[in-house]
């Protein structure tokens, strides 16, 4: 039949045909070999590909020098008081002591533009101090005591395409003449939280501060009244103030002293500033050399003469009511020398700091990672960071200017932030928290995978506690004691159960079982006592009547059917008793009683529901594999056991079960693997709250459900996106290990009995 075509032809074409067949064969062999190999390759490359997305999380950030220039010709005269760079890293600027801002091209060093700030008091004073308030804002104190707050901005050109450099501009935000009387301040800082009422803080000689706030109000007629408050404060400063920082709202002032103390003032009431904290910044009395706020204004970064860098925020003291004390939270990597400047990044909780040795370092507050170090041949003396967190500009001792492009996409991630407890802002102690996003941009992402891994394990463990006994005992019964006729129906029934989509189980668990169990929680616990009791009673009854001649042949092989009435009665009795018991013992509401007496909060969608639902999903899997293993134990073993007089239970328990043990372990492991990765059931039947709590009355959030919940909102290639890929890698690796172990066990088992 195979060669029908051949029969009709002459022997001449025979050879041709065979040649073609052989050619086809070789071609097919090649195709199938490569095809098969490709399938295997592509399927196994899944892990590689998802890992590829996750790995950049752990790569070190990079700072690459894009250009080094020496401004020629019209180089700024005098001492440089400030500098900056635009977001595209095209234009840099320098502010010199005469108040001239010089803009120059990054590539050529050519001067593009020059703007001179006019001092409010007239004349030609020089700048006494200029402090970088971030975002191109500089607060300039002239040596005649007058003050200018200005902002450098870059406006992109509307015509000419995106290649054109932005047009620089300088905007003056506040001008104040010197007061005449009194000493000239050492340093002045202004804040514009409210457009109409700028706030200015001066550091005066003699370690005193002065706060002035101008409030402009206009009445109905449009008449403006300007009220100016000026309050001196700071009598209690211990030592000399060496560093000052003010938050963006102008509410809290931080100061460091040469005796190593860190002070925090509350300026919310401009007429009565209060000293809130005065703490020791370090134990050995090193002078505080630089202080600045970290993005979000919750934490303050503090550096001292010793080169140590740390961040602090107020934490409520336990047992002292609502009082909060400034506390050292994160100790970052040390510098070799005293730190002179600290600048915060504007998009993340990264802190840039420059030390005496002339090295700029970037550290991330939450992850405590030293992200990168920027240095040049000559020590750096001054630096600034771009508004987009993508670059930096620095000036060295020789007057060379260097531009860096900074690639720092995932500074907040480290093994520590993913798995260890982290002390997050406004928390009272280090904790494992998963909270990936919030409304504001300056939010500190909390990306601990620990609660998710915990949740995964919690759900799996409870499900296994429920599923393993039922599945294994059921498998033992089906393989060893059940009649062949019934087995033909029961086995496929359980296999079909394996096909029930998890979304169906999840839906029923979440919307049908959860409200039902919520009302009958006492009955549920009661059922653990009542149902075994009913089963035992029913066994006793069958023991009595089973010996009757007519019923003698009924029981063996279909005990499970005879027990159904007992189970139904058990369910009914526990339901009836549960209501009565709840009314009499727990004042009609167990949940309320639990909360009042033990403080255990209970959710409607809790771990009991998950145990049921997830258990139901893994039972058929465990059952099928275990049943196969038990059935495949050679019949001659059990036959021999029965022949020497062992009972059917003894044979099953002592002979068959030990032989099938590897297969049964493999069944449990595969069930475990399935439960770990199950998504829909967990998503639908728990509250998805990422908490660390073993209580069966709460829900949890698992790794898989977390991926399903968060990935639609995660920006592509952002930190969250990559972390979700990392959780997928974890799931993959975890199930891979478990399944491989199970598979190896199963292969061993097959080898032992020579077939499968």
């Amino acid at each position: 039949m195979l060669f029908r075509k051949n029969d009709k032809n002459t022997t001449v074409s025979d050879g041709k045909f065979l040649a073609r067949a052989r050619k086809n064969d070789r071609l097919a062999a090649w195709l199938i070999n490569t095809g098969g190999f490709l399938v295997i390759l592509s399927v196994t490359s899944i892990l590689v590909l998802i890992m590829k997305v996750a790995i950049p999380l752990f790569l070190s950030p990079e700072a690459t020098v894009v250009s080094t220039i020496k401004p020629g010709g019209s180089a700024p005269t005098g001492e440089i008081k400030g500098m900056g760079v635009d977001d595209e890293l095209r234009t840099g600027f320098l502010l010199d002591a005469s108040g001239t801002v010089t803009f120059f091209d990054r590539r050529t060093g050519r001067e593009i533009h020059k703007i001179t700030i006019t001092p409010p008091g007239g004349g030609s004073p020089t700048i006494a101090s200029a402090s970088d308030s971030g975002g191109g804002r500089f607060d300039i104190l002239w040596d005649d005591g007058s003050f200018t707050a200005m902002k450098v901005s870059f406006r992109s050109q509307e015509t000419g395409g995106s290649d054109q450099p932005a047009i620089p501009a300088v905007e003056t935000m506040l001008e104040e003449k010197g007061t005449g009387g009194g000493p000239r301040p050492l340093l002045s800082v202004a804040r514009f939280a409210d457009e109409n009422s700028p706030l200015r803080v001066d550091l005066l000689p003699g370690n005193r501060f002065s706060l002035s706030k101008t409030t402009a109000t206009s009445d109905l007629a449009g008449n403006e009244t300007v009220r100016k408050v000026r309050t001196p404060f700071g009598d209690e400063v211990p030592g000399n103030v060496t560093a000052v920082a003010l938050d963006t709202e102008g509410e809290y002032l931080y100061a460091g002293t040469d005796t190593g103390r860190l002070l925090r003032y509350d300026l919310t009431d401009p007429e009565a500033p209060r000293l809130l904290d005065s703490v020791e910044a370090n134990t050995n009395g090193h002078a505080v050399t630089a202080v600045n706020l970290v993005l979000g204004d919750n934490s303050v970064a503090v550096a001292d003469a010793d080169g140590s860098l740390s961040t602090w925020f107020p934490v409520s003291e336990t047992g002292l009511g609502s009082g909060k004390t400034l506390t050292r939270i994160h100790s970052l990597a040390r510098h070799d020398g005293a730190v002179t400047v600290i600048l915060p990044a504007s998009r993340s909780k990264t802190i840039y700091s420059l030390d005496k040795a002339g090295v700029v370092s970037a550290d991330h507050m939450t992850s405590e990672r030293r992200l990168l170090e920027m240095r040049t041949a000559k020590p750096l003396v001054r630096f600034a960071v771009s508004g987009g967190d993508n670059g930096a500009i620095a000036l060295d001792a020789d007057g060379n200017i260097t531009f860096w492009h900074i690639d720092n996409p995932h500074p907040e991630v480290s093994l520590k932030t993913l798995f260890a407890p982290v002390w997050y802002e406004s928390y009272d102690k280090p904790a494992y928290v998963w909270q990936s996003s919030a409304a504001s941009d300056d939010f500190e992402p909390k990306l601990s995978l620990t609660p998710l891994i915990f949740g995964t394990l919690k759900g799996t463990v409870y499900a296994m506690i429920f599923a393993v006994p039922l599945a294994l005992l059921g498998a033992i019964y089906t393989s060893q004691f059940m009649g062949a006729r019934l087995k033909k129906y029961v086995k496929p029934a359980i296999e079909i159960m394996a096909a029930i989509p998890s979304v169906v189980i999840g839906f029923l668990a979440g919307l049908w079982l959860a409200p039902l169990l919520d009302k009958a929680i006492v009955s549920f616990f009661l059922a653990f006592a009542v149902i075994p009791l009913c089963v035992m009673l029913s066994i006793l009854i069958w023991r009595r009547i089973g010996s009757l001649p007519r019923l003698k042949r009924v029981a063996p092989g279909c005990e499970f059917l005879l027990l159904v009435p007992a189970l139904l009665i058990g369910v009914y009795v526990s339901h009836a008793l549960g209501g009565i018991l709840e009314a009499s013992l727990f004042a009609g509401d167990l949940k309320l009683w639990l909360f009042n007496t033990t403080g255990v909060r209970s959710d409607q969608r809790n771990s009991i529901i998950i145990a049921f639902a997830l258990g139901l999903a893994v039972i058929p899997l465990i059952f099928t594999i275990a049943e196969d293993a038990l059935s495949n134990v050679p019949k001659n073993l059990s036959a021999a056991s029965l022949a020497i007089g062992a009972s059917r239970w003894q044979t099953a328990w002592r002979v068959v079960l030990p032989s099938a043990l590897p297969g049964i372990f493999s069944a449990i492991m595969i069930g475990f693997g399935r439960a770990v990765g199950e998504t829909m059931i967990v998503l639908m039947a728990t509250g998805n709250t990422p908490i660390l709590d073993w209580s069966i009355f709460n829900g949890f959030r698992s790794l898989s459900a977390n991926i399903a919940v968060e990935i639609p909102e995660a920006p592509v290639f952002g930190t969250l996106y990559r972390i979700l890929f990392l959780s997928a890698v974890l799931l993959f690796v975890f199930t891979f290990i478990i399944n491989t172990a199970a598979e190896v066990l199963r292969q061993k088992f097959r080898k032992k009995y020579g077939r499968f």
């Binding site: 059921g474 004691f481 096909a499 998890s502 035992m536 066994i539 328990w653 592509v716």
Partner: protein, 532 residues
């Protein structure tokens, strides 16, 4: 008694109890789905209840439970009329009810929006609508509805034509975009002619839109006035009414006809009211198409891999490792496949395709976002191990003698494979395919990431060029369950619909997998020689 215990009979009964519990749980699950799913469409009588305080309510009894405060019963009514009462359901203590009646003229309306209306027909306001004279108000109402429905069907045709026009215009727009992004000067003439064509299409579209608006405004002016249980009047345009019936006058046969009509609507119509009412057609279509598309990818690859493993690869450490890997992949969580599909297909290949072939549409992604193609590929990957394992089993069950017979007759390996081995292993392959399809139909988690949406504006296949739109997002029965059951604002009102969807999905999956299991068991009986 002693020997009974010693022989371990109680333990045997204990294992039996475990099995019974498992089976009972499955039966309960199926039972709950069946009862809730099948019962939903049966029209229940509308009861007019007069309470002790004199107020009246009209609605269907949906459930009864024990009241917590006193020892009486609490009855839940579905009172509908969401636009008047604010909510669909109302609980009433049985002790508060003075009397219950089942008036014949109680009308139930299914509306396009805002759920059911329960009330009584009062009068009609039908200007310029010609209906056969005479008869009761109810007869007139029915006749008017018929005529309105007929006009509406005509309007729908016009709407369809407009959709065609719109899609043609859109295609022209994209063409213009493509041409002008490639070479705006050189293609000037082509661009201008395309633009002119597009203008013409848009003009026709606008003309039709105006006409359509006029006509539908006229249709909407035909209204009926109903009163609710408390006598409050409500004017409802006939076009708003999907179905109207008087359940208390219906006999069993009328109800059965009604039931059949509802099933027809379920299977063939579009969903309404954010998926909580109406039909499931797009979801069924999406599920079926996704599964078929998945089979196209997963079957050949799975079979080739299995043939390679079983027939071509030399047994050794590599094949053993590969087999472990395949078995393992069957156990990898489905969400991981979803993540892979997102990272590799959607953002990897999809973005690449967009940059190569659809640069003019960027930044709006075409293939660089979830869609039916990527969903099918992801699920194909997920189900390949199922096909491989099952095909291998099928290949293994072909007796060695047959292969050797064929080879000894001079057939090549490939001929033996295609003419002898594969035909005999077909049941195994079929089993694998069906199991894979059942798995794919029920899988939701990966789909949520790579292309399923709650409401797709259009099907992946339609009459517009190029007919198969592989980049489109689609609806899926399983996701429908999750979405309607857990994300809709009115879960209580949506629940029955979810049960119906669940029943449908469960029926499909169970039918598929029982067929597969049946085929496999047949195959096993045919080829395995019993060792003992």
């Amino acid at each position: 008694m002693g020997s009974f215990r010693k022989q371990g009979e109680p333990q045997v009964w204990g294992t039996a109890a475990a099995l019974s519990i498992t089976l009972l749980m499955v039966l309960t699950l199926l039972g709950v789905v069946m009862v809730n799913g099948l019962g939903f469409f049966w029209p229940s009588d509308t009861s007019l209840v007069t309470l002790k305080d004199g107020s009246r309510l009209l609605g269907e009894i949906t459930s009864t439970e024990k009241a917590t405060e006193n020892h009486g019963k609490r009855i839940q009514f579905k009172v509908g009329n969401r636009d008047i009462y604010g909510q669909d359901f109302r609980w009433v203590d049985a002790s508060e009810i003075r009397s219950t009646a089942y008036p014949d003229d109680a009308v139930t309306l299914e509306r396009k929006e805002r759920g059911n209306f329960y009330g009584f027909l009062k009068s009609l306001s039908l200007d310029r609508l010609r209906i056969p004279a005479g008869g009761t108000t109810w007869d007139d109402f029915l006749a008017a509805r018929k005529s309105v429905d007929a006009s509406r069907a005509k309007l729908r045709k016009s709407e369809k034509r407009m959709a065609d026009l719109n899609s043609n215009a859109e295609r022209l727009r994209l063409k213009v975009l493509k041409l002008s992004s490639a070479d705006p000067v050189g293609n000037r003439a082509a661009i201008d002619s395309l633009n002119a064509k597009r203008e013409k299409l848009l003009a026709e579209f606008n003309a039709r839109l105006e006409r359509l608006n006029d006509e539908s405004a006229e249709l909407n002016s035909h209204t009926a006035i109903f009163t609710d249980a408390s006598g409050e009047e409500k004017e409802i345009p006939l076009t708003e009414i999907v179905r109207s019936y008087r359940p208390n006058t219906m006999g069993v046969f009328a109800k059965a006809r009604f039931y059949a009509g509802k099933i027809r609507e379920l299977l063939l119509d579009e969903p309404r009211e954010s998926n909580t009412e109406g039909g499931l057609f797009p979801a069924i279509f999406g599920t079926v198409m996704m599964v078929l598309l998945m089979s196209v990818f997963s079957l050949p690859f799975g079979v080739v891999a299995a043939v390679y493993l079983r027939e071509y690869a030399r047994e050794g450490i590599l094949v053993r490792l590969v087999r472990i890997a395949v078995n393992n992949l069957a156990g990898v969580p489905s969400i991981v496949y979803g993540v892979f599909g997102l990272g590799f297909f959607v953002y990897g290949i999809g973005s690449g395709i967009d940059q190569l072939f659809y640069p003019e549409r960027l930044p709006t992604p075409t293939f660089g976002t979830g869609g039916i193609l990527w969903a099918s590929l992801t699920l194909a990957l997920l189900t390949v191990p199922v096909v491989i394992v099952s095909t291998e089993e099928g290949l293994a069950s072909v007796p060695k003698g047959l292969r050797e017979g064929s080879l000894s007759l001079g057939a090549t390996k490939f001929q033996t494979l295609t003419k002898v081995v594969i035909p005999m292993a077909t049941p195994g392959i079929m089993t694998g395919l069906i199991l894979a399809m059942a798995r794919a139909a029920g899988e939701v988690a990966p789909l949520m990431i790579v292309g399923v949406v709650k409401l797709a504006p259009s099907l992946p296949i339609d009459g517009h060029f190029p007919f198969f739109h592989m980049d489109r997002k689609f609806m899926h029965l399983g996701f429908h369950i999750y979405d309607v059951g857990f994300q809709s604002p009115n879960v209580e009102a949506a629940k029955p619909m979810v049960f119906v969807t669940t029943l449908l999905l469960l029926a499909i999956v169970i039918a598929a997998s029982s067929t597969a299991i049946h085929i496999r068991n047949k195959m096993k009986q045919k080829y395995t020689t019993k060792a003992f």
